[in-house]
């Protein structure tokens, strides 16, 4: 009997610890959505093995859709988290930057004509050039923020406004279409592997991010600069350069996301591609319980946050919510999630468990 009590006490301590953990928030959100779907319609979790038009085996089902379409967002969330940590601000130009990078990829693959019969350049070349371009645009944002001390949201507003017309201009406002099975792999499936490629690309990005954080001081530097810029400088850091660097890294993430995006369609629609993705990326950072004012960050929580957002979107699609109404529904759920995960509510939850424990002690 007594043993049982202590066990319960430990459990309460454990629960309290969990409530305090940063990653608790996206996990809780994920669980809520998962349980909702389980009750609403268990067939949500059904995964079937089928064959696509080319005859390759593919897994399909809502979960696969989430893994597939959440990938771009997860990749962007990596860069956005680091920018947020170092600058205490967000980059709202990532959607427009994806349009530019995607346009660059297609332009290089297509060469001079807009609908070539074969690729005019190797995919790797197109991708590397688009990486370079995206990093240059990232650097542009970085200079505005780090050197000219413009608020990140205002600085990136420039590219947010201009980006999609730059993208259109790169291809003379034509709609290039690439007809190549290899190119469509990045947004589709690798022959013989039934899991969507974007998920593997996202995994690759996460692995690279983990390696970079482990083998460089990127994490320490961005946190230090985000928390106290003046102290950081006194410790020999160059805060401007650190901020600049985070924007360049985000640029790289943009290029990878753009590759997946244009590969899905083998084409591009300048005004629609990656529309509003910047807001989802910022939301992923927030859902990961990272302070949008900068400082400490948890990359895993942001990535999980990105998949939670995709989970939500897919759930709403599944429930046949009209695509125009989608944003409104999403907003309601997001408000709920954000309020539940707010420090005020969390502290209340912690206090609740404390009280419960105390009451039980008194009973004993």
């Amino acid at each position: 009997m007594h043993k049982n009590e202590t066990k319960k006490g430990n459990l309460l301590d454990f629960m309290k610890g969990i409530f305090r953990m940063q990653i608790f928030i996206p996990i809780a959100a994920l669980l809520l959505l998962a349980i909702f779907n389980l009750i609403n319609d268990p067939s949500f979790y059904k995964i079937t093995l089928g064959y696509n038009s080319v005859g390759n085996p593919v897994l399909s089902g809502y979960l696969m859709t989430i893994l597939d379409y959440g990938s771009e967002l997860a990749i962007l969330a990596i860069g956005m988290t680091i920018v947020t940590a170092a600058t205490g601000g967000q980059d709202i130009s990532v959607g427009a930057a994806i349009a530019i990078s995607g346009s660059v990829i297609l332009r290089i693959l297509c060469g001079t004509s807009s609908r070539p019969d074969s690729l005019q350049a190797p995919i790797i070349v197109a991708f590397l050039v688009s990486c370079l371009v995206a990093m240059i645009f990232g650097a542009f944002n970085g200079v505005l923020v780090a050197h000219f001390k413009i608020q990140p949201m205002i600085a990136t507003l420039i590219l947010f406004t201009a980006g999609r017309s730059i993208a259109a201009w790169i291809n003379n406002n034509e709609l290039p279409i690439v007809n190549d099975t290899t190119f469509s792999i990045f947004g589709g499936f690798i022959p013989g592997i039934p899991i969507p490629t974007p998920f593997f690309i996202a995994l690759g990005c996460m692995a690279i991010a983990a390696i970079v954080l482990k083998f460089t001081n990127l994490g320490l530097y961005t946190k230090a600069v985000g928390i106290n810029e003046r102290s950081s400088r006194m410790n020999g850091l160059n805060p401007s350069f650190v901020k600049f660097l985070t924007f360049v890294i985000l640029g790289l993430c943009v290029a990878v996301a753009a590759l997946i995006k244009v590969s899905r369609l083998s084409s591009i629609n300048y005004s629609v591609i990656a529309k509003d993705i910047e807001m989802d990326a910022i939301l992923a950072v927030a859902l990961g319980a990272n302070a949008l004012s900068g400082g400490k960050f948890n990359l895993a929580a942001s990535i999980l946050g990105a998949y939670v957002i995709q989970f939500l979107t897919t759930t709403l699609y599944k429930m046949n919510v009209q695509s125009d109404a989608l944003s409104a529904y999403k907003a309601v759920v997001v408000i709920l999630l954000v309020v539940i995960s707010s420090p005020v509510v969390r502290e209340k939850a912690v206090a609740l468990f404390k009280q419960k424990k105390k009451l039980e002690k008194e009973v004993v």
Partner: protein, 505 residues
């Protein structure tokens, strides 16, 4: 209340957790008087002013104003404003993107319909009578800092203020601008306004003030007519040393550092920075402890900040072992073996949300390079070594530094820099706001490090502490080096007379 007094504060007490900020302080201000409020850091000047202006609520005591029979109650800043008490702070609190007239009218009830033409005319009139060279329609940010300050004063005057508090108004003004400000102050004095003038500049006090009230450690030292108090006396009253005691202090100097080595390690020639310090020469020998002394705001921090590259160096040169080195950022200084423990721990020292471990390894980590992070084991080893060495009281190395006490935070910063094994350690007020035990520990440590060959520059507001640790003192006044003391000259007496300097009284 006395006949001509306009404000009387009686037996004011204010406590903060763990500190008595003000203890039975009295302050009287007369009509048409410029009254200097003097005291070193932590003396209680700003607390007294904040009590008067409603930023803090007093715990005990009464405040009387002219024409009101009973004590007035000032709980929020608006109360003070309504009673005719206005403050102009060091940093301008007006809106730079509005016009002069808008700034003068903002936040005052002028009705829903505004006739800007009339209001601008009124403002021009005010500016003219006060002889302020600005136009009502000019954007405030296009005026110099001095004019902006004067506009703030004009605003206060136009709001019928009887008591005007000027909190360090001259610290960002040049000589010319200070003169203009003083003219304005004298003008207001003639109109019967009582002015409280808070400053660190001794010369300015003797130029414009009629009376001086000195505070020390939250207590009133006394109120003096300016003509009765020589600079020397003022300095000794601020520092809390009477001349009789001074000889004794000279004897208590227990550790007198040997100047056995004359090898110059670092040297500065005509060094100047954008912080406004006048060019100064400086050197430090191997194993020597020297110090910069002077009143607060005299430029002692700015001097060492220039050496460390914390402020932008605008002239002069720095030499290490006789050859010139270039320092344009702290990292350059760090690479040359200089470590700097800054005066303002919260702003320049700690990285609040990071753990004690991360705070300890930060400087060495930065020196080690972006691509060579320490392993977790190594970082833990460094942290636990220094936590033990300096007896840092923390729950664990993972605890965020901001939850430590001030003294322990300071030890973490000290650990950070000792870990880099510097050749030259600069400590700027390392013992401020920390308990006496830690103070003594830090002093001992400094002496030990120097005996092992480290160069140390030590800055402290406490003369005793400086005398105990330093073998050579550089004395500063008004951002200039005014003297250097060593050997037998090292006494509180000499320090004070050098600080006071040019004693005309």
């Amino acid at each position: 209340m006395k006949d001509n007094s306009i404000l009387e504060m009686k037996n004011i007490n204010k406590r903060f957790p763990g500190v008595k900020a003000l203890q039975d302080v009295n302050f009287t201000l007369c009509k048409g008087e410029i009254h200097a409020l003097m005291g070193e850091n932590g003396a209680g000047k700003s607390t007294l002013i904040k009590v008067l202006t409603g930023v803090y609520e007093k715990d005990e005591g009464q405040i009387y104003l002219e024409g009101i029979d009973k004590p007035v109650s000032i709980k929020i800043p608006q109360d003070a404003q309504k009673l005719g008490i206005s403050t102009v702070y060091q940093e301008i609190t007006l809106c730079p993107n509005l016009t002069v007239a808008e700034n003068i009218w903002i936040g005052r009830e002028v009705g829903a319909i505004r006739n800007w033409k009339k209001m601008n005319e009124k403002v021009d009139e005010i500016l003219k009578t006060l002889d302020i060279p600005a136009k009502s329609t000019q954007q405030l940010s296009s005026c110099s800092i001095a004019i902006q300050q004067m506009v703030a004063i004009a605003r206060a005057v136009d709001m019928d203020c009887k008591v005007l508090i000027l909190d360090e108004p001259t610290s960002s003004l040049d000589d010319q601008e200070v003169k203009k400000l003083f003219q304005l102050m004298n003008d207001l004095k003639k109109r019967g306004v009582g002015i409280v003038f808070v400053t660190h500049f001794l010369d300015q006090v003797y130029e414009v003030c009629d009376k001086i009230t000195v505070l020390r450690d939250g207590k009133l030292v006394g109120e003096y007519e300016i003509k009765d108090l020589s600079r020397m006396d003022l300095v000794s009253k601020m520092l809390g040393k009477e001349f009789q005691d001074i000889t004794n202090i000279g004897e208590t100097k227990t550790v007198y550092h040997e100047k056995d080595s004359t090898l110059r390690v670092f040297e500065a020639n005509k060094l100047e920075s954008n912080s406004g310090i006048k060019p100064f020469d400086f050197y430090i020998n191997k194993g020597e402890i020297n110090g910069f002394t002077g009143l607060l705001g005299s430029g002692r921090s700015e001097s060492v900040r220039a050496i460390f590259g914390a402020d932008k160096i605008t002239g002069g040169s720095i030499l290490k072992n006789g050859s010139k080195i270039k320092i344009s950022n702290p990292i350059d200084a760090m690479k040359n073996g200089i470590a700097y423990i800054p005066e303002d721990r919260k702003v320049d020292g700690i990285i609040g949300d990071l753990s004690v471990r991360e705070n300890i390894i930060l400087a060495l980590q930065v020196l080690n390079g972006f691509f060579r992070p320490f392993s977790k084991a190594k970082a833990n080893q460094f942290a636990s070594e220094y936590i033990k060495l300096l007896e840092i009281k923390t729950a664990s190395a993972d605890t965020p530094i901001k939850s430590l006490s001030g003294g322990n935070q300071q030890k973490v910063i000290l650990a950070r820099w000792l870990l880099t094994h510097p050749e030259y350690l600069i400590l700027d007020e390392p013992t401020r706001g920390i308990d006496i035990g830690t103070k003594v520990e830090i002093q001992k440590l400094v002496l030990k490090l120097a005996s092992e060959g480290m160069c140390v520059t030590f800055i402290s507001s406490e003369t005793d502490e400086m005398l105990r640790t330093c073998s050579r003192l550089i004395v500063m006044r008004d951002r200039k080096v005014v003297g250097e003391l060593s050997g037998d000259e090292l006494s509180a007496n000499m320090i004070m007379s050098t600080i006071a300097g040019g004693d005309k009284n």
